[in-house]
Symmetry: C2
Subunit: 191 residues, 2 copies
DNA sequence: TTTTCAATATGAGACGTTGCGTATTGACAA
DNA sequence: TTGTCAATACGCAACGTCTCATATTGAAAA
């Protein structure tokens, strides 16, 4: 039962190397063996911790990025959205974007991993937006129909640009998206 | 100069095998060697025609799916959108969806291929929606600001669900999305 | 208290597999 | 004579597994 404990320095070295690697060279060249070589950690030490590259990237993203995203509650749906999206998009322009791309590749090739990604990463972030929408509905700011669908409207364009054109995800894009979601959530002009 | 001409039967066999393969087994197992084995065509015959798996899939999608999408012009933006999205989403639930996923994987790993994909496939489809929006603006149905941004609103959620949950792309999703884009395009309620 | 022992981690290195993309060969069609 | 065809082999990269000797830990035995 006791056994030698895992070296926490290796945990950190692995995640750090993953982060740096993907930031410098993009997802294309990211490989377990590459991370092992870069971090000086043996390949097996990585496989002992993560079953696949996807799990490793998921852990790396959780460690370095997810906690830094805000959970705004300003009293205005638009301000909440702008705050969240500005920070989120800024992260996508850095390592987070590359890691998200990596996760997308893994998810596209493995349905079970896609499910894990959804519940562990995507859904929690959806919940943040859903809560913002719910609060706005309570305040009477919008009509509360289908909050879940509006969440797609928020994150859909982000992933779309994450796939094809990350630099498009700038502050003005965030603001426009916030305005647009707001307009849509308010319902058709002809009440 | 002439030399022996390529066998058109091979062209067809390759594309057909690609189509069937991806439909039955998803993208995960799609490989040039697998397609070669399945179609009875030799690997080199494929490489003679396509430089990479991405180009092959791009060709297959162009051949079997892209031409079947409608270019509606009903006189109503909502009807145009519903018609286009219903047909597009239906295609995504079949082989087109798998092929698009395959293209996404290739694009994520190769910037140059991503650029090709954008200009050859994504942009033409965006143009269809942009044209619909432009016509609506001319009719005074909507305010004509930023048609390109609204195109993101149309295709963003589609790719998002293409990544994580294809079955969600049903007729009701198409209708809701059309309604929502319309509401957003009309601008804020307070004129 | 000291020793022993089972359990686990570590780096090093090798292994078989898959898929990539390239090259060679000889037959064959224009 | 040129380019396609099938067949086959090749080098490369990365995967994921395995064995080995060594190191580190907690618990049990002396």
């Amino acid at each position: 039962m006791p056994g030698r404990p895992r070296d926490p320095a290796l945990d950190a070295a692995i995640l750090r190397a993953t982060f740096e690697f993907v930031e410098e060279e993009g997802y294309r060249r990211l490989s377990i063996e590459g991370i092992a070589a870069r971090s000086g950690v043996h390949k097996q030490a990585i496989y002992r911790r993560y079953r696949s590259k996807g799990e490793l990237v998921l852990a790396a993203l959780g460690r370095f990025a997810a906690e830094r995203l805000p959970t705004p509650d300003t009293g205005s749906l638009r301000d909440d959205l702008v705050t969240l999206l500005t920070a989120t998009f800024a992260a996508q322009r850095g390592a987070s974007g590359q890691l998200n791309r990596a996760l997308a590749v893994e998810a596209l090739q493995d349905e079970r991993f896609a499910a894990r990604l959804w519940t562990e990463l995507i859904e929690p972030r959806r919940a943040v937006v859903r809560a913002m929408i719910d609060r706005a509905a309570e305040r009477g700011e919008i009509t509360g129909a289908n909050p879940d669908f509006f969440v797609d409207l928020v994150y859909g364009p982000m992933w779309y640009r994450l796939l094809f054109d990350i630099p498009a995800l700038d502050d003005s894009y965030a603001a426009r998206l916030a305005d647009t979601v707001l307009a849509a959530a308010r319902g058709p002009r002809t009440a």
